[in-house]
Symmetry: C2
Subunit: 473 residues, 2 copies
């Protein structure tokens, strides 16, 4: 059973760490992007791995809970809690140094508190690419990105955060330090503890440093927006593009017109690149080696797709600025969603081939329930849809009081029935603990609990996230 | 503490499974490729996941050890044991069906006992590629390939076995079945149990099925053998090729002339493709999308490399047959090594940039110890060297009695000092348990033990592999 942070315990921490480590204004750490949860706790920001270890050791001895805090951009409430005894919120923000870049090895080693955009920048400065890219990259920190196994737009080609990490430095729940910052591409010496910590959302230890995998920068970069005749046509176009361009496709995003309509309604305002807003469109991004023209590759996809009746209209970016304009549409949809205010949002993954059936059946089931607007968009290449349900035009979230749970149940039941995942890239946090309990294989849940109890026997690490906190003994 | 298989327990198993599941001639299962270890046990080959579960449940109840057995091709003694109470050797050979292929999803689902080459073939029949390729692919089974996180020649481009698996079906040490055969590309619902089982060498459960990731078949395939002036030149050529060809490089293998000399001395006989056998050479394999010529790409690498003084000679394969000839040289080296008989073999990984220093320092240290022949070859693109030490010409392994341990210590100490790994792709098995204890981070070892005890509390799964078996209570 955990104890709360008491004044006496805070005094003890203040004797261990310098005053600058203690955040007096804790408000910014106690809310999250969608404004749906609030938190409590004292905020401490150590400046080194040793300081993290000292802090964790003290918490372990006193059985005080710890919530590791990166950029605070998570969407499932993993970074804050107002339940249970008052915890320590351990912010990595002062551990924000790139420790070393090894261009010939395509490796970058950094503190866990470095902001994702700064990692991208450091890679670029060494003429390399760190391909992980997502809307919150200006504030998300690499420790959080790894702890949540973040996805984003380039997973199709480069994999998610897990695939981009070679090694980790981790402070365990007992305050010992695992020095696992390897730069090796292959290392079969024992269980894959790295991937166990990645995606554990801070419940098995605190990531303090990471060795990240860089890539050569693609030479020929291009993008196109194409109107497709249906979700099935989008999938067929993905296969067609894969056959023509191979690994060169870095992103393949699907968007329903609802997203464009939201942008027109509440902003951020975008220029609409096609004559008519299509019902469904895809944004294709390519990065090719020297000798291949991205324009020619995209034109080939367009022409074949048009001939096969998959594509009805399209535009190929003629400049970096135009490519950015196309991406702005995609990347501003989450902000437009936020302004409209969803009744229930879902981050689901499905086997690729069932996606058209899912979209049809989910739409039909929700239409039978009530009058909603559905914004379905996301990373089609990865089978990952953001399937978000909104009030009808002119109505507000409050008009649907009590229906959010029904909406969520309908969507998630269908996902489970189709062998999908109710959290493709956002993780479990605190918001989806019940979903994991409901939809998770019981044998898997037993393994999760066994691992948690083995590696964090006191249950002090991010209590209540991913799996339910241990009941009082 | 474990119990041996008794006649009474065997009778119990025979009441659970049909007679055909029991192998009367156990000899083939009791030796391994290098002939260095022998095993003991009764061999049982269930035909279904349910039969595996029944078998494991009986062993768990009786505290009898289980050694999961795939193709028996492992090089570190993970597949057999002559220590401890007589175990059940659980062969997956009768679970050898490809369950389903989803070409539009690039997914193949199969039993764990399917032979690797049969998976490759099934992928090819669907016009797809299963890229994992290694010398033993004609007998290695996919469950073993995953349990050992096998590497091989295409890791540079496609990753090791871990990167090619989407989901697993696993029988846990208590006989329950984890139905984790997902075809999803993204699934952030709880800890990464899949990657925990992959590479666990059968010590945490038995893999009974797998969902594997396929790739489009590259259109333009080519290979070249180039003589390089030094290991550093090989690394510089790797960087040069990466900049020119990007992801198109599927393999980048380094070979020392010792391997060619062994082939000439003991066979299998090869045609030598260059006028003179070079001190160091690299085998480069490329697979390119439509529109790019592999020959032109390799010629460009050769010309730039020649101009920069990295490459001194080379040949580009002019046909599929010639490409195979080049690969035969590389792939027959392990057989030549076996015929010569090594004093000590090492499968090490190093940060790429320290490899030239490692080769120099290891060679100097061994020269100071005695008169050896060193065959250093392997997957340079992954930083993975097979660094094998042999008797001088005309002498035999027995002449070096007592020196094997010194050789191993010198090599592994240097690897550890250079932040490398003492098992890049072969795993720990039983052969390297002491190495893991010696060179592993103590905090990592504590985590390994905690995970093992949590998921296999009785210690029945592959006892003595990866980590020491639990002492008698």
């Amino acid at each position: 059973m955990l104890n709360p942070v008491t004044p006496a315990f805070e005094d003890q921490l203040r004797s261990l760490l310098p005053a600058v480590a203690f955040k007096e204004d804790t408000a910014p750490y106690m809310s999250e992007p969608r404004g749906r949860h609030a938190g409590t706790g004292i905020v401490v920001a150590p400046a080194s791995t040793e300081e993290v270890a000292a802090l964790v050791k003290a918490c372990a001895a006193a059985s005080v809970g710890i919530i590791p805090y990166g950029g605070g951009t998570g969407l499932v409430g993993g970074q804050l809690s107002d339940q249970g005894p008052k915890p320590v919120v351990l912010s990595l923000e002062r551990m924000n140094k790139v420790r070393a870049v090894y261009p010939t090895e395509n490796v970058l080693v950094c503190d866990a508190g470095v902001i994702l955009a700064d990692v991208q920048k450091a890679a670029e400065d060494a003429d390399r690419l760190f391909p992980l890219s997502l809307a919150s990259e200006g504030s998300a920190r690499i420790g959080g990105v790894l702890s949540t196994n973040a996805g984003g737009v380039n997973v199709l080609r480069y994999g998610n955060a897990r695939a981009l990490c070679l090694g980790l430095e981790v402070v365990r729940p007992d305050g010992t330090i695992w020095h696992g910052l390897t730069r090796l591409r292959k290392d079969n010496t024992g269980y894959d503890l790295r991937d166990l910590i990645i995606g554990a959302e801070g419940t098995l230890g605190v990531i303090t440093g990471a060795a990240l995998k860089l890539s050569p920068r693609p030479v020929g970069i291009g993008a196109a927006l194409m109107a497709v005749s249906s979700p099935q046509a989008a999938l067929d176009l993905l296969a067609l593009a894969g056959a023509r361009i191979g690994d060169g496709i870095s992103a393949f995003e699907i968007m329903h017109r609802q997203g464009m309509d939201f942008l027109a309604e509440v902003g951020p305002k975008q220029r609409e690149p096609l004559d008519e807003i299509p019902e469904w469109s895809v944004l294709i991004d390519v990065g090719l080696p020297a000798g291949l023209s991205p324009d020619a590759a995209l034109e080939g996809v367009f022409e074949d797709g048009f001939e096969q009746g998959l594509v009805t209209d399209g535009v190929i970016a003629q400049s970096r600025a135009q490519r950015q304009e196309l991406w702005d549409i995609r990347e501003n949809i989450p902000e437009a969603n936020r302004r409209i205010g969803s009744i229930s949002s879902h981050d689901v993954a499905l086997p690729l081939s069932v996606i058209p059936a899912f979209i049809e059946q989910a739409g039909a089931a929700l239409a039978a329930l009530g009058d909603f607007r559905i914004n379905c968009f996301g990373h089609l290449g990865d089978g990952n849809l953001h399937y978000n349900v909104f009030p009808a035009k002119g109505r507000s979230r409050d008009d649907y009081d009590g229906q959010a749970a029904d909406v969520k149940r309908i969507v998630h039941d269908l996902v489970a029935q189709m062998d999908g995942s109710v959290s493709a890239e956002h993780g479990i946090g605190r918001l989806k603990v019940a979903d994991l309990e409901k939809y998770g294989d019981p044998v898997k849940l037993a393994m999760l609990r066994a691992v948690k109890d083995a590696l964090d026997p006191k249950g002090i690490m991010n209590p209540g996230a991913v799996i339910e906190a241990k009941p009082a003994q």
